[in-house]
Every structure is written in C-alpha cells, then in structure tokens.
C-alpha cells in the first residue's frame, strides 16, 4: 500500500519554564492511502501531540514526519477535526462550511463551492444552510464540522476524539456516518480516541501507545466483517480485539502504579 504519512524516529519534548516534558519517544508508524488508523493509549500520553505534529502545528524535536512524500508539511493536505465542533456561532452553517475556502482562496473555488453544496445535500443539512449553529443538534454540528473539513479536500483527515462530546446513541450513528462519508470520498484518516470499541469498529489499523513518554507498543491490523462500524461490532473477533487492547492498556496502568 502506498504510504501517505510516515513517522520516522520522532521524539518530542514540551518545554515549560520549570520543566521539560519528554512526550514522544522514538515513534515510528505509517498510514497508508485510504486507510483508517486509530491511536489509542492512556490519557495524556501524547496522542494529540502526534496529530499536532502531523498537522504541522508543532515541529518534532528530532526525527521526521513525512506527509505525501514531503518532509515539509503542506497544511493544505490536512483536515483537522477537533473534539469540540468549533463552529463559529456568528456564522451561518454555510458560512462555517466555506470558512476554509475563504481563508485559502483556492483557484478552483467554484468547483469546491459546488462540492460543498453537494455534501450538504448528501448529508441532510441543506435545509439548515442559512441557520446559525445554535439551532443544530450535537450530531448535526459535528457533521457540519466534518463537511467544513472535507470541503477543502484534504488528503489526510486528523480526528481528535470528534465523537467524545456526544451522547452514546448520536455517537454510534455519527460513527457510521463518518465512516460512510470517508469511504465515499476516499479519504485517509488518523483518529485519536479513548474509546477502544470505537477504534476497533472504525479502523483498519490500531496503534497502541504506552504511557508518557509514548512509545508504539503494538500495531494491530484488523479485518472485521460488516459494512458499517455498527455491524462490525457484531463480529465474533470484536471481543478478542477489545480484550487484547484492553489488556495492553491496563498493563500500562499497573506498571504506572508500581
């Protein structure tokens, strides 16, 4: 499989006034094109740091982050989706979706605006086009946030716990939605999550990280039957994967308390 993202011996230190925190310890992994990869690990282990490095918001202390064959990260190839939807309350849904286009002013803007219209229609948000975000439900808001990201046609989507602020039912439905949208649009995604079953149901590959300073503890390739994430949860293997990752993570915690 062709690689879209590569982490090569990446180390990262956070510097504060009184301390230097060793966050990432020699991280190596790849994300292939059209793959869905999840990062799981104990809280505060540096999962979001990995996303920030990928987005070019941080620079590695040492090692290399290679995106689409280039060491200099082109932010236009990245779409970042956050835990909170970050919709701008003073803008309409449409104005929120086209925010990135306003900023980047791409040459093919007409084509992208048309694409935005299509996405709105496809994901049942067209009638809310001129509404302000406050009249939308949590799930709809996250869908708007996802469309805002997709409109820019990024090669790689970074998802930082985009479902964690939602209630359980919305979360499961939105997972299906997102998975479908990403498949339809042929996107590659890197997801950070605390939710092991979410990771298993969505991903082709799961990277298990150790506690800080984070190392790659395990790389698990999954092949579950079932077309949607919800259906995948019914697969017999699902439980096995869950137990495997759970034991790796709890193992971490025990070591931590030693």
């Amino acid at each position: 499989m062709e690689k879209l993202l590569e982490f090569r011996n990446v180390n990262y230190f956070y510097q504060t006034k009184n301390d230097e925190i060793f966050a990432l310890n020699n991280i190596n992994f790849d994300v292939g094109k059209e793959e869905f990869v999840s990062l799981v690990g104990p809280s505060g282990c540096g999962k979001t740091t990995i996303l920030s490095l990928t987005a070019g918001l941080l620079k590695p202390s040492s090692g290399e982050v290679i995106l689409d064959g280039e060491k200099k990260i082109d932010t236009k190839k990245i779409g970042y989706m956050f835990q909170r939807d970050m919709l701008f309350e003073w803008r309409t849904v449409w104005k929120n979706i086209t925010l990135g286009l306003e900023l980047q002013k791409p040459k093919d803007i007409d084509k992208k605006l048309e694409f935005a219209e299509q996405l709105l229609k496809k994901y049942n948000l067209e009638s809310f086009k001129n509404r302000k975000p406050r009249s939308l439900s949590g799930g709809m808001r996250q869908r708007v946030a996802l469309i805002r990201t997709l409109v820019l046609e990024p090669k790689l989507l970074l998802l930082d716990e985009p479902f964690s602020a939602l209630d359980y039912q919305t979360r499961l439905t939105l997972c299906d939605d997102v998975s479908e949208i990403l498949k339809n649009e042929k996107k590659t995604a890197l997801l950070v999550t605390h939710d092991i079953s979410e990771a298993i149901s969505l991903s082709n590959k799961i990277i298990v990280l150790s506690k800080r300073p984070a190392k790659v503890k395990d790389e698990i390739h999954l092949s579950l039957s079932g077309k949607t994430p919800l259906k995948k949860r019914e697969d017999k293997e699902f439980g096995k994967y869950f137990d495997l990752i759970w034991s790796e993570l709890t193992n971490e915690k025990e070591q931590k308390s030693d």
Binding site: A55, G79, Y80, M86, F88, L103, M140
Partner: protein, 269 residues
C-alpha cells in the same frame, strides 16, 4: 431539533401559560409607570404644600415651566446640542481609539506586558484630577471637554476589549491555524467577531461614561451646555434650571443607550 415549531393545536395548559406570561409582562410595565407617576405626583404634592421647599427641591410643574421658557428663548436646543456634540465626539474617539489600541496590544504579547502596569495605573487614576492640566494643554473650551470625555472612556474600552480578545477560544484559533490562516485572518475571522458581545457592553458602558466626561468637562470649563446650565443654576440658586437640565440630560442619555440596544438586537438576530 424539531423542524416544525408551529403547532396549531395548543393545549389548554399552554394557553394558560401564555396568558400568565402576558399578565406578568403587563404587571411589570404597569408598575414601572406606576412608580414614575407616584414619584412625580408625590414630588408635586409635597412641594405644592410646602412640605418640601420648592426653592431647594424645585417641582415637576416648575420644571415643565422652565423647559417651556428655555424652548421659547431658543436656548434649550443650543445647550443640549453643545453637550450632545461633545459627548458623541468623545464617545466616538474613545471607542475607536480604545478598540484600535486593544487590537495592537493583542497583536504583540511583549508590548502588552510592557504596557500592562501603565494601563492599570491609568485606569485607577480619577481622570478629573487631570482637569487643570488638560485646560493648560488644549485650552479651555470644547476640545478640553472632549478630551476629558475621551480620557474617561478610553482606558475602560481598551481594557475590556483586550481581555475579550485574549479570552477568544483557543480551539477556534487552532482550527484556523490548521487551515493555514495568518494572524490578520485570525483577527478578522475569529477574534473580532467573537468579541462582539463584549463590544456591545463596552458601548453601553461608554454611553454612560461619555456623559460623565462631558458634564465633568463642562463643570471645569464651559460657556454653554447642560453641564454649564447645571453649574450656573447652582451658583444663582435656580434649582429649577438645575433640575430641568438634569431632566434633559436623562432623556438624551437614555436615547443614546436605546440606540445602542437597537444595535444589540440587530446583532443578536
């Protein structure tokens, strides 16, 4: 989210609820007017029966008469206009300048830290203390009054707006950064629009403060204006004039506040 908010068949309890809402609203308006009528009536009554000396307390009928006299003499609008003009100019300069300074301080953190203690000192200084110096610097007259007005409003404008800019949602800024936005774009797309509620409350504060500034300025130095009328009336013991000028002042200040609240309603839509 329900799409159809318009439900045709209201239940009985809903009708009751709406009725109660209407009744409450009516009561509030009624008592507002009631208090005003009582206040004016009592004032008139007490002064008419010399329980309160109208020489010191004036009275509503005397105020109306003075108002009529001033309008007849053609001086009321002149005085009101002078003060209104000073207030508006001071209000505008202070708001625009204070806003721009806040943006500059937001832009550069080091500059902000350097100026922080100065702003705090300026904020706690009673600006009236600068009165004599202002007159020496810009001369007695309109410019001194406007300057007083600006000094009173500008520090609070800068401080409030700066704190609003700084408390702009970090996540939203991060989102813009991840979309390759530069600092100017971050400012115009996120920091300024998200601080609109604070800006409106600054406008409201400044409406009050700019009147304080212009009246204080007129106390210091003036040949016309409502503040001038108040000082003049006080000096010649014409309390009617003082009260009348104060009444007009109330009306104008309320009008200005009303305009700002219209702006607020428009924004909230």
């Amino acid at each position: 989210m329900k799409k159809n908010k318009k439900v045709i068949n209201f239940s009985q309890s809903h009708k009751k609820y709406v009725k109660k809402l209407k009744k409450d609203r009516f009561l509030i308006i009624f008592f507002r007017i009631f208090i005003l009528v009582c206040f004016i009536g009592l004032w008139e009554l007490l002064t008419a029966h010399k329980i309160l000396d109208p020489f010191f307390f004036s009275s509503p009928s005397r105020i109306v008469k003075t108002l009529g006299d001033l309008i007849e003499a053609g001086t009321l609008f002149h005085h009101a206009w002078v003060t209104l003009f000073e207030t508006l100019i001071g209000f505008l300069i202070a708001t625009v300048l204070g806003y721009i300074i806040a943006i500059l301080l937001w832009w550069n953190e080091k500059v902000r830290k350097v100026f922080e203690p100065y702003i705090i000192v300026l904020n706690s200084l009673p600006k009236i203390a600068l009165g004599p110096v202002i007159i020496l610097w810009v001369g007695a007259g309109t410019s001194a009054i406007v300057l007083m007005c600006v000094l009173i409003c500008i520090v609070i404008t800068t401080m409030s707006m700066l704190s609003a800019f700084i408390s702009c949602d970090e996540g939203k800024i991060l989102l813009l950064k991840s979309m390759n936005a530069n600092k100017i774009q971050i400012l115009f797309k996120c920091v300024l629009p998200s601080s609109m509620p604070e800006f409106i409350s600054v406008l409201k504060i400044n409406v009050g403060m700019s009147w304080v500034g212009s009246i204080m300025g007129e106390y210091l130095t003036s040949k016309a204006g409502l503040g001038y009328l108040i000082v003049y009336g006080g000096q010649i013991f014409k309390i009617d004039l003082v009260m009348t000028a104060t009444f007009v002042l109330c009306l104008l200040a309320y009008l200005m506040y009303f305009l700002v609240s219209l702006l607020e309603k428009r924004y909230k839509k």
